[in-house]
């Protein structure tokens, strides 16, 4: 059996999984840092509580991102050794920079932040969080630079058949990287925003169900305080309403950023990877129409099987070029061009093993690109719409008592996650059959490309990769259960779950632990 297919599944599963943790880390981190900044500036209790609570969830998620990120770095060498040999000169550099210039900061300063409560001065402690958050944001940049080089290779020359880096600046300022980075960061903020909205909504709803808060005849919220439920005092209400509205603002801003950067990125992609965009549109023939709905067998790679039901004339041209008339090449016209430039069959090289001489499929699986593109936009738009609705519904300072709306808000957390995954799957699958996509674009480097089929490790067997696929997928599945379990548990516990001191004060003001002695660590594993 072919190790290539299983290696692709392995890479796809581990990468998409890793990218469930990363956007939450990227999106939630800056918000927690802002909360702590507000606390340091104003000294208001609610901001401290917000920092502690959201910080706890941030850490539960952060560690999963770290643990699964390790796999990403190792698997290039393990499963894709030919790829690593071919591109190492240019691709390894941003990865090493990520470690040296970003990840060291992120991990070291996060350790300082976690354990530094009460040990560092307030300002220094706040700075450790900002540095850690900046580390994540910079780290993401280097990773996107590496990925974008595979989408649009720049800054290299071919020497002895290998791309050799000649211009690091070109690699770091690759237009594909800049637009993809901005798009990804805003996509991550959308995740953070929905997370804040959903969880805060649940808390506010619970306060109303438990009769702590109510609404008076004029529709104004009456904030109450519970004598029996731990942590449900008046400050608690402002923690959640403030978090919710911060989340909604983050989500709305994120969506504007995602839309603008997505448009720029799509225009670049029409230029740099025309086949990907044609497949995303299921555009068989050259034309100007954007398809909203198509049927037929999108998986067949044969365009004649695709029937477009709703088309908007001119829109495709507008997306690609900003006018309504320029014709965009369809799949049927692109295939012969690709065949002329890159051949019809894989070369007869020993390294390719049984794949040598195979016919090359230049059309990616259309069902994946077509629906991946639409799901990304659809889920992203849904999340943005939900955020606007949330702002409207909470304008008076509380949520409606409806359980159904609360459940929608909680489920809504998943929408931007789905949008992010769909976007990545679209952009990576749409690049096939290339692992390093060739450049038809004059600003890129000519002749730098690599077929995915030529990238897999020649010495590694199907069974080895299958073993890692099964083992990692199982472990990932189990860990997902634990992560969700812990997040649910801490969410149900409310702020008190992250602030034991608050608990002691609530339970019994005369308890000897109410003011812990200086000797006890304010945070310990």
């Amino acid at each position: 059996m072919d190790p290539l297919e299983i290696a692709r599944w392995q890479f796809g599963i581990t990468t998409v999984y890793h990218f469930w943790m990363v956007p939450l880390t990227l999106g939630l981190g800056p918000v927690v840092a802002i909360m702590q900044t507000l606390w340091v500036r104003t000294g208001e209790e609610r901001y401290l509580r917000m920092t502690k609570f959201w910080g706890k969830l941030y850490l539960i998620n952060f560690i999963m991102g770290v643990a699964t990120g390790l796999v990403q770095e190792f698997q290039f060498g393990m499963a894709w050794s030919e790829y690593s040999r071919f591109v190492g000169d240019v691709f390894g550099a941003p990865l090493a920079m990520e470690g040296l210039l970003a990840f060291f900061f992120e991990s070291t300063f996060l350790g300082l932040w976690i354990f530094g409560w009460g040990r560092l001065s307030k300002r220094v402690h706040l700075a450790t969080l900002w540095i850690a958050v900046a580390g994540s944001v910079v780290s993401a940049f280097f990773i996107i630079v590496a990925n974008s080089w595979m989408q649009h290779p720049v800054g290299v020359e071919i020497i002895d058949g290998r791309p050799v880096m000649v211009d690091i600046w070109a690699v770091l300022t690759n237009n594909t990287a800049i637009s993809a980075y901005i798009h990804t960061i805003f996509g991550a903020f959308a995740v953070g925003g929905a997370f804040l909205i959903g969880i805060s909504w649940y808390q506010l709803w619970q306060r109303r169900r438990d009769g702590i808060d109510s609404v008076d005849a004029g529709g104004r919220v009456v904030v109450g305080s519970s004598a029996t439920i731990r942590g449900r005092d008046k400050v608690d209400h402002s923690v959640w309403i403030k978090s919710l509205r911060m989340g909604a603002i983050v989500a709305v801003v994120a969506f504007s950023g995602v839309a603008v950067s997505g448009d720029i990125q799509a225009k670049l992609m029409f230029d740099q990877q025309p086949m990907k965009m044609a497949a995303a549109e299921a555009a068989c023939k050259t034309g100007t129409s954007f398809s909203v709905l198509a049927i037929g067998d999108l998986g067949s790679r044969d365009c004649n099987d695709v029937v477009s039901i709703i088309e908007i004339p001119g829109l495709l041209s507008f997306l690609a070029h900003g006018d309504f008339t320029t014709e965009i090449k369809g799949v049927a016209d692109l295939v012969p061009e690709y065949q002329a430039n890159f051949g019809t069959n894989l070369p007869n090289e020993a390294l390719l093993g049984a794949r040598a001489g195979d016919e090359i499929q230049y059309v990616p699986i259309m069902a994946v690109t077509y629906w991946g593109f639409r799901l990304m936009i659809g889920f992203g738009g849904l999340a943005a719409f939900a955020a606007v609705v949330a702002l409207w519904l909470t304008r008076k300072g509380t949520v409606p008592q409806s359980k159904g709306i609360m459940q929608l808000a909680v489920v809504g957390i998943l929408a931007p996650f789905a949008a992010n995954s769909a976007g990545w799957i679209f952009t990576e699958m749409g690049r096939q059959p290339f692992v390093v996509a060739p450049n038809p674009n004059p600003s890129g480097v000519d002749g730098v490309f690599m077929f995915t089929a030529a990238a897999v490790s020649p010495g590694v067997s199907f069974v080895e990769i299958l073993f890692s696929l099964v083992a990692l997928t199982l472990v990932y599945g189990v860990l997902m259960v634990f992560e969700v379990k812990l997040i649910v548990k801490y969410v149900r516990g409310g702020v008190v779950s992250a602030m034991p001191d608050l608990d002691r004060k609530d339970d019994d003001p005369d308890h000897p632990d109410a003011t812990p002695s200086d000797d006890v660590l304010s945070f310990a594993y």
């Binding site: 550099a93 300082l112 040990r119 050799v164 006890v520 660590l521 310990a524």
Partner: protein, 342 residues
């Protein structure tokens, strides 16, 4: 003269030594939590000695891997693909370890805590063993063909050297962690770590001594033998000091032993980065495995700027958390209950 590839060989050796030196005690603490600790409080004291620093320490591994990819892509590709199965296990160990440290204290049942302890201890063992085996095979060689690909199946790497090297790093981590725990904790954990150090150090260090000697007899030079001598003197000095409770000196002695011993190994194999056991014509060396000079120059600038900074802020972290951890520092376990009226 291949100046830049030589510089990068030294840099990667330094990253690996940095990793073993720093995460060595994290891994050892993970194992001691299973082996040496007698109570939940002792385990929590142990874990909290590495709490603020372990994640930063692990980045040395990530950077060592990525730097190898950038500076010696052929070395990275051949080594990692040849060791597919053991590296998968190392990855699983790293995943479990990281998650266990963060999650063990967040559950409420004893079964939860004990399960994560097991994940942490076994994960640490697998990582130490796997990294040791990998580094040893880098010095003793793998069956690689002319393209640098492993021949002979998924377990072609498994031989006596791999086991020796695996045990070497496991043994070193246990010793290193016992000096670290003795230095960083107080009370029962400090005493237990001291006792472990006195009793087990001579045995636990045998495999690493074996590995050093194998490499020295194969390709040693006067310089590398001098490094071995430094390592021997350092470890004897550290051990004798540790026996009489001078914990700081014991820690320094073991640390110098590691640095000098590992340096002797890297220096002895230079300029080969990965020998082929099939034919020395297929050996990967700093010349035929490295990236171009431009890439290496860029990386040198980045490292010259970045690494000293890492030293400064990681050093500062150790300074901030210099206080010993003991039983009375550990807060009571906090039970998380739903904040609801139901």
């Amino acid at each position: 003269m291949d100046v830049l590839p030589t510089v990068w060989f030294i840099a990667i050796a330094a990253l690996w030594i940095g990793y073993l030196l720093l995460e060595g005690f994290d891994l050892g603490v993970g194992m001691h939590m299973l082996v040496t600790a007698k109570s939940e409080t002792q385990r929590r004291v142990m874990l909290n000695t590495i709490g603020p620093v372990w994640d930063g320490n692990e980045v040395w591994l990530i950077t060592a891997g990525a730097a190898t990819f950038a500076a010696f892509p052929f070395w990275y590709a051949s080594l990692f693909s040849a060791l597919y199965v053991p590296l998968t296990l190392v990855l699983l160990g790293l995943i479990f370890r990281a998650v266990a440290i963060e999650y063990r204290g967040k559950g409420s049942s004893e079964r939860w805590t004990r399960s994560w302890d097991l994940a942490l201890g076994l994960g640490s063992f697998v990582v130490a063993f796997g990294v040791g085996a990998m580094l040893t095979l880098t010095t003793t060689g793998l069956p690689l063909n002319e393209n640098g690909d492993r021949v002979g199946g998924a377990f072609a790497w498994l031989n006596g050297y791999a086991v020796l090297g695996g045990l070497a790093v496991v043994g070193f981590c246990l010793v290193h962690a016992s000096t670290f725990l003795a230095l960083k904790s107080d009370g029962t954990v400090r005493a237990a770590a001291g006792r472990w150090f006195t009793r087990w150090t001579p045995v636990a260090l045998l495999p690493i001594v074996g590995w050093v000697l194998v490499v020295q007899f194969q390709t040693g030079t006067i310089i590398t033998w001098a490094l071995v001598a430094v390592a021997v003197v350092a470890v004897l000095w550290g051990y004798l000091n540790g026996r009489v409770g001078r914990e700081g000196r014991a820690f320094i002695g073991v640390a110098v032993f590691l640095v000098a011993g590992a340096a002797s190994i890297f220096a002895a194999v230079f300029p080969v980065v990965l020998p082929s056991t099939l034919d020395h014509a297929f050996d990967l060396t700093i010349q035929n495995a490295s990236s171009g000079d431009y890439t290496l120059a860029v990386m040198t600038w980045v490292t010259a700027f970045g690494l000293p900074l890492v030293f400064v802020y990681q050093g500062w972290t150790y300074w901030v958390f210099r206080q010993r951890v003991s039983d009375h520092h550990i807060p009571a376990a906090h039970v998380v209950r739903p904040a609801t009226g139901e």
